[in-house]
Every structure is written in C-alpha cells, then in structure tokens.
Amino acid sequence: MTLPKYVVPSSLTLPSTASTTQIYGTLRKHLIDYVSPSTDTLAGFVGTRIWVRAAPADPVFPYLTLRLDRTSLPAYNGYRETAILEVQGVGKPDSQLPLVESAMDIVDQAMTSLTARSSGLIVGRGRTRQTVPQLTDPADSSVVAVVANYELYLWPVVLTSRA
C-alpha cells in the first residue's frame, strides 16, 4: 500500500479507504456523484467547491467543508471505527441561505444512504444538523452557514491491513 504524499488533481485512487486522504476523497466524490430522486446534484449548488477542513482564501460562495473525527475501539481490535463527518455549508450574502440549506439537503440524502465497499467499508445512516444563528459584529453578519454531523462506521483498509 502506497500512501499519498502529495495531492494534486487525479493523484488519488478513489474510492479507497487505504489512507485518511483517500477516505476524504472518497466521501467528497460520493457527494459530487450523488443524484437525488429529483435529479438534483451538489454541482447545481456548490459546483465542485467541497473543501477539506477549510476553504481557500477568498472563496467563491457557497461552498462546503468536510472534517472527520474518527474513533476506533479495542473491542474490534481497532479494525472498526466510528466517525463523525462534519459538513459545513457556508454562503454569503445571507440571501444564499436557501441555497445552502438546499445543498445540505442533498448532503443529508447522500450521507445517510451511503454504503461504500469498493475498498473497505463505509456506512452512513444518522445525522444531526443545525442552521448557524446570524452572526453579529465583529463577525460578518452576511455569512450564513449550516453545520451537519454525519455518523459513519468504517472498516477502513488503512486499519484492517496492518502487518
């Protein structure tokens, strides 16, 4: 197993759970590829602006960010992990709130129906979601955001292929 050292476009083998970077890439690809029953996709709302951890400087709004909190327990010899995928949908100005909420509806569908086993196993079913209250000075009150946490469980290759 060769772990990615640098990530440039098309450098990652996806889908894969062989590394944390590839897990992020797999989840991001799932979000981009997901088509809702009403044929909506995230591309219609955020394009491909789905970033890991934070958006780049001077971002185009709206966008999504992904962040994982992962836990594995000795009960499964550390092979199985549970994870919380935090997805933030961010828009500006505040008229983008419906856009962000709609984008997050698609994320809800995609992440709570996720069963990915092309490499290891990733299953997502549950979630919590909050619309961020309006910010006040000195924060930018024109920024709107929705934060959702998706409960996943994984049998990732990065943990199950230990020597």
């Binding site: 092979y79 086993r117 290891g120 079913r125």
Partner: protein, 196 residues
C-alpha cells in the same frame, strides 16, 4: 511484532450484513419497523442416550424440531396490517354497531378477529414472508418462509413516539408446495439475492 488475532478477512466488506432489514409479506413490504428483525429457526437436537454415555457423541444427533420465527416491532397499523397480524380477521365496511353506539359517524371498518375454535383456512396464512438484509456488497440475504402465521402481537403506545407493535410470525410447513412435502422438511430457507 504480531498483528491482532482476528476473524477479519478481505471478504468481510462483501459478506458483512448491515442495517435492520425489511420484512416482506408477499410482494409488499410489511411496514416500517423500529429496531431490527430477529430470526430464530427454533431448532432442537437430540443426541441419542445410552448407558454409560459421558458426552454428546458424533453421528448420534437427530434434528427433532424446527419452529422458525421472525419477530420485530412494527410502528404502523394499516388495515392490511390488521389482517396480517389477525389471521382470518373479517373486515366489515360501513356503519358498525359498536361505533354507532359510541356516537361516532362516518365510514368505518370493523375487524372481527377469527373466532376461537375455528380451524384456519389456507387464505388466512401469510405467504412468501421474507426478512431481507443488505450485504456489504450491495446484494441481499433473506430468510424465506413460504407459509407463515402471525401468532402473537401486542400494541404499546407511548407519549411523543410512534406506536410499537411487537409481532411474532411463525413459519408453517405447506406440504402442498414442492420442496416442502415431507413433514420433516424445513419450513424456511436462507437465500442470497442479487436484487430485491
């Protein structure tokens, strides 16, 4: 260093069974459940006894009974569900005496459960009952009961939550069906499907 001793293998992602599963009665879903489905094949074995026996002996086992049962908690109660959990219940449409006596009006349906002492008829049984679970590879595994009967249920309501109807559906051997004609035949199958 030594890696952990574990049953995990590379085929695990394909073979793992996930989620609570779905119960079908015939071609239609039975309904929405809270929690998972439980299947108990109800097997009993007898290891033949003899004087001086000190432990169960290989090749002296005989399967004695198989009383398969699927159980779970359904959270809905449609009119179809009533006839599924009350085999032989008879629904009468229209103004029904007991409702009229209560001062209620409008179209009503009253289901009279099967009279005790009656022998059930073929149409009272559920057919093609399936508890289906999703496998990691996107395919399915199911427990299939060709003929079955809901033999037990109870209804529990609670504040701020859906109703809970605990049901038990037992298999019945239908000796008129090919593959089930011998009285010793198992009244259930475990089957793998590519699609549901």
């Amino acid at each position: 260093m030594t890696a952990p001793l574990t049953g995990f293998s590379t085929t695990f992602p394909d073979d793992v069974v996930i989620d609570s599963g779905v119960l079908y009665a015939g071609a239609n879903k039975f309904g929405a459940f809270a929690g998972g489905l439980k299947f108990d094949p109800g097997l009993t074995y007898r290891n033949i006894d003899f004087d001086g026996k000190r432990s169960p002996v290989k090749l002296l086992d005989r399967k004695m009974t198989q009383m398969p049962k699927i159980s779970g908690t359904v959270i809905q109660l449609s009119t179809t569900n009533v006839t599924q959990i009350e085999p032989g219940a008879d629904g009468a449409t229209g103004s029904v005496a007991i409702l009229a006596a209560g001062g209620w009006s409008g179209a009503s349906v009253s289901y009279a459960p099967q009279r005790a002492g009656n022998l059930l008829v073929a149409g009272d049984y559920l057919t093609d009952v399936r508890a289906i679970w999703l496998r990691g590879n996107g395919k399915f595994v199911q427990v299939f009961l060709k003929s079955a009967l809901c033999t037990k249920y109870d209804i529990t309501s609670q504040d701020g939550a859906e109703i809970a109807i605990a049901i038990e559906i037992e298999a019945r051997l239908d000796t008129s069906v090919t593959g089930y004609t011998n009285v010793g035949d198992a009244p259930y199958r475990i089957e793998y499907l590519d699609a549901v």
